[in-house]
Amino acid sequence: MAQGNLLDLTIIEAAAQLEGRRLSPVELTEAMLQRIASVDKQIRAYITVCDAQAREVARAAERMIQAGYYLGPLHGIPVALKDNIYTRDVRTTAGSKILADFVPAEDATVAARLKRAGAIIIGKTNMHEFAWGGTTDNPHHGTCRNPWNPERFPAGSSGGSGAAVAARTCLGALGTDTGGSIRLPSSVNGIVGIRPTIGRVSNYNVVPLAWTMDTVSPMTRTVEDCVVMFEIIAGYDPFDDHSAQVPLADYRAELARPVRGLRVGLIRDYSLSHLQKAVGDAVRGALKTLEGLGAQVEEIAMPSIHGNISAQLTIESCEPSAYHQEWLRTRAADYGEDVRTLLESGEMYLATHYIQAQRYRSLLRKEFLEGFKRVDVFVTPTLPFTATPCGATEVVIEGNRKEDMLSAIMQFTGVPSLAGLPALSLPVGFDPDGLPVGMQVIGRPFDEGLLFGVGHAYQRVTDWHTRSPRL
């Protein structure tokens, strides 16, 4: 098969060919490594490319499949992991200088589960330093760029994973999401990403950002591919104290769930407020598409929705500053300037600020659970603007008013993070400059299956997810 065709394969398509022995894992891995070699000097999606190890695993997978030992739809599939996820014998920097030489002795649970399913770890992706930021403008490992326009940012903090998938240098990737770090890069890179319910996917051996909000999950080109990775990594892990013992759904069966009769909620004065016009137009178009499939849209009031950004900033400031307390006193100069400043500021909050922010989460969650008596999912844009220029620290959303990037970027994604709810981001259009727009679908606790069903139904009747950046 020609290399161009290989690059466009989804996980589902590649798996069918690998299982049928019409494609070799070696051939597929070589195509990805060649693609990395040709585009990644520009995009900087990878911190470490595991070329020798990936080739070795690909040859082993080829032998197993030839011998009739096919492990399932991830067997022989090249995937990438964000560089805060431990990989045994492969350095895990968390995008930092401080951990530049850290080589874990064991895998994260999610990495081990992917390996057991036969996935090939092709590399470790670039990220905002220690995941504390939303741009992936990394002072130690290079500025990651958006494949749709390398002058624009890939968002973050899992910007490398988002850019790697969009640039066709892997078939899927894992990211981590605290306040939006999977969904934001999924949106601006035109791919699919899900933040799971807290406790659904293990955080064991993942460098933390904020313990009470951190999650790990897949980023892929299609919802179907997201399910293939999610069903492998999800589920109880005794090594993770926050892991939930809640039964998993049959996520592939959930893909067939009909949208007819689905009740979609818009949060009054919030879901479609304070947006760039192109973002609002694309999300309204997606809602029309869902209505065409039989969904009903209604507005729901949520009196406590405003206040979310302050609560998120407070928790995301205090918890990382606790984790980094020793390094901030012994290796401060080894942090990038933005992260160092955020860590310093996180030590200046009062205990009451932190506790009231955690109480606000309970209040917000109660209002969502009340809202879920009337609707099945809530919809918002994933972020209120499309990809901004690399290096920008401010953004214009409406009029000529410049806003601080860190606050603006978490306008929508912080809400499910605080409330502990799952949320899927999927591509729903492009702005006039050809930059992707994403929509966020928020579900009940542990109901990731419904989000996959809604996303898949949408992707069956639209083609945004089939478009490729020109690189």
Binding site: T197, I198, G199, T212, H242, A244, Q245, V246, S304, G307, I309, S310, A311, L313, T314, S317, L328, R329, T341, E344, S345, E347, M348, Y349, T352, H353, I355, Q356, A357, Q358, R359, Y360, R361, S362, L363, R365, K366, D404, G420, P445, F446
Partner: protein
């Protein structure tokens, strides 16, 4: 800096002393405008959550399995 900003150079200096975080004067100075906005917003959330209507609300540190 506005007169009603909750954070000044002096308050940052005191907070650094309380946190046992020795920062150079120029680093303390650059925290002031950023912290003013963050702490003003956090104080507003404090006032909301301290209201009688919310006294029964507990903090979330771990999510229920439901």
């Amino acid at each position: 800096m506005k007169s009603d900003d909750p954070v000044t150079r002096e308050t940052v200096e005191r907070l650094c002393a309380l946190a046992d975080l020795p920062l150079a004067p120029e680093r303390r100075a650059r925290l002031v405008p950023m912290l003013s906005g963050l702490i003003a917003a956090a104080n507003e959330l404090n006032r909301k959550m301290a209201a009688a209507a919310y006294r029964s609300i507990l903090p979330i540190l771990r999510f229920p399995e439901r």
